[in-house]
């Protein structure tokens, strides 16, 4: 045994470096065990295998439900879901992550994938989402309209302009001629919601669907100006998919009446 302090020192240096270098690692999903789809008749094709769906984080609850419905309806199939920010997902897919379906929270990120020639066919818009003001249940700053957010002393948290919800916020600001002075510009809508549910912020700008998901932890205040910035959600089969039949079937479920009902219940608008 040589000097044990040296070992600990080395460990510490390694730890410090790891800590410094650790930026943000997004998990890549499990492998796709695709098998040959035994497609028979067009009416009720016998689908089998696994379909890996990369979906925007805001689709978590709806797509989780749609996936289990899909599996129940098509025995022998398995839907693997990976939720993250749309731009993260695009990066993962272009870096070779095994995705069969991509559902984006905005058209911009879908275009990135189309430009990379990684989309099979044309993307289909399947939902829309608008912003809503989220306040803590007690509404400490008495917010009732978008203009209230610009009142002095109101702690407003928004998304940074670089991410879709922040771009939408900017659009609404421009359309209404209101300039917000946020106390924080978060990089995801979840972080905005977190600051409201924890009571740190007086108000946050999130999507209608986020308010619905948060339940009674926040109160939603819709505002008419939100229609100035409608976010459209497109979905597409990924070009490198090894099970395009199954991927297309899942896309059809989302865009079909069943999917539209689940999405509508969660607060999404029709495309």
């Amino acid at each position: 045994m040589s000097d044990p302090r040296k070992h600990v020192t080395a460990l510490l240096v390694a730890g410090a470096l790891t800590a410094v270098l650790t930026g943000c690692a997004s998990g890549t999903p499990a492998v796709t065990g695709s098998s040959s789809a035994a497609a028979s008749a067009s009416a009720t094709p016998a689908l089998t295998g696994t379909v890996t769906v990369f979906a925007a984080a805001s689709l978590k609850s709806t797509f989780t439900k749609l996936a289990s419905d899909f599996e129940a309806k098509n025995p022998g199939t398995k839907v693997t879901l990976n939720f993250a920010g749309s731009s993260d997902l695009v990066t993962q897919i272009t870096q070779g992550a095994p995705a069969d379906v991509f559902a984006s929270a905005d058209t911009k990120n879908m275009t990135k994938l189309t430009d990379a020639k990684l989309v099979d066919g044309a993307p289909v818009n399947f939902a829309t989402n608008v912003l809503e003001i989220a306040v803590p249940p007690s509404n400490p700053a008495s917010i009732s309209a978008f203009a209230d957010l610009a009142k002095p002393g109101v702690k407003v948290v928004v998304c940074a302009p670089q991410v879709p919800c922040g771009a939408a916020t900017e659009k609404v600001e421009k359309a209404t001629g209101t300039t917000l002075a946020p106390v924080s510009e978060e990089s995801s809508v979840t972080d905005v919601l977190g600051k409201v549910t924890s009571g740190e912020a007086d108000a946050g700008l999130v999507y209608v669907t986020d308010v619905k998901t948060a339940g009674d932890k926040v109160r939603g205040i819709p505002f008419p100006e939100s229609d100035q910035a409608v976010n459209t959600y497109p979905i597409a089969t990924v070009g490198t998919s090894k099970n395009k039949e199954l991927a297309a079937a899942f896309v059809a479920t989302v865009t079909g009446s069943e999917g539209q009902k689940v999405l509508g219940d969660a607060g999404f608008g029709a495309p």
Partner: protein, 273 residues
């Protein structure tokens, strides 16, 4: 115990070198990959953009402040842990070291429920007119929380290695405890203190999760360099890579400078028992 490798015999079997090399490659390869990804013609404009410089400046200032806070809080902690045995000492040490293994986001949540508006101390602080959430103070608190163990571990090790012989002699010569601390103990462990401070600084510089959870992200106020990288990555991968390299360069410079001298003692022998 202290059989140092001064005899020329290292006692390391050759195959160890192969695995050690693999370990080094494992750490270095991602860095090389990142350097290869840098858009060099745009590198200087990218890292000297207004938002980048603001973020770097904020990072350096907050890290310096949290290092100072670590010294103020950490030196007494290390002294208590190293010098005076008391019941619950091991438990205290375990808790002080906890932020080392805690995911930073957990630290952020804990700080939120302590200093946040609805938090344990937040309400009293607000009554006193102090608002911590969304302020640069919140960034410093988050960084201090995660960096404090680095200073305590380094200094406690140095204190144990130095022993208390000189202190005892000083005391028999009539020096009061405060004088002994100032004139004997601190000068004796200064290298350990310095390396601990440097590690704390480096850890503060890389702080991300706790800051994002607890302090928010606003240019010039709470958006430090790691948060700026995280945000830039959404739209401009080149900027994110360039800033990452800048952060790595600063971190390597800081850690490298402090470990040039091999005589620096950095950790207690029993710290991880």
């Amino acid at each position: 115990m202290n059989r140092r490798s001064g005899t020329g015999y290292t006692g390391i079997p050759p195959w160890i070198y192969a695995i050690a090399a693999a370990g080094a490659v494992f750490v270095l390869l991602p860095l090389v990959a990142m350097v290869a990804k840098v858009n060099w013609p745009q590198f200087i404009p990218l890292i000297t953009s207004e938002s980048s410089l603001t973020a770097l400046g904020l990072s350096l200032r907050t890290s310096a402040a949290s290092t100072a806070a670590c010294i103020v809080l950490g030196v007494p902690l290390a002294l208590v842990l190293a010098r005076s045995p008391f019941p619950g000492q091991r438990l205290l040490r375990a808790f002080v070291l906890l932020p080392l293994v805690l995911p930073p986001v957990v630290g952020g949540i804990a700080l939120l429920y302590t200093f946040g508006r609805q938090g344990l101390l937040g309400r009293s602080l607000e009554l006193a007119g102090i608002q911590i959430a969304f302020s640069t103070t919140a960034v410093v608190l988050a960084q201090t929380f995660v960096a404090l163990p680095f200073l305590v571990v380094s200094l406690e090790g140095a204190l144990r290695t130095a022993g208390n012989k000189y202190e005892a002699v000083a005391a028999t010569l009539g020096a009061r405890p405060s004088t002994v601390l100032r004139r004997v103990t601190i000068p004796l462990v200064l290298p350990g203190l310095a390396s601990g401070a440097v590690l704390s600084f480096a850890r503060s510089l890389g702080e991300f999760g706790a800051t994002l959870t607890f302090a928010g992200s606003l240019q010039g106020v709470t958006r430090t360099l790691p948060l700026e990288i995280y945000l830039q990555r959404e739209t401009d991968a080149d900027a994110a890579v360039a800033l990452s390299l800048l952060l790595v360069a600063v971190a390597v410079a800081v850690v490298g400078l402090s470990y040039r001298r091999p005589r620096v003692e950095a950790a207690p022998e029993g710290a991880f028992r």
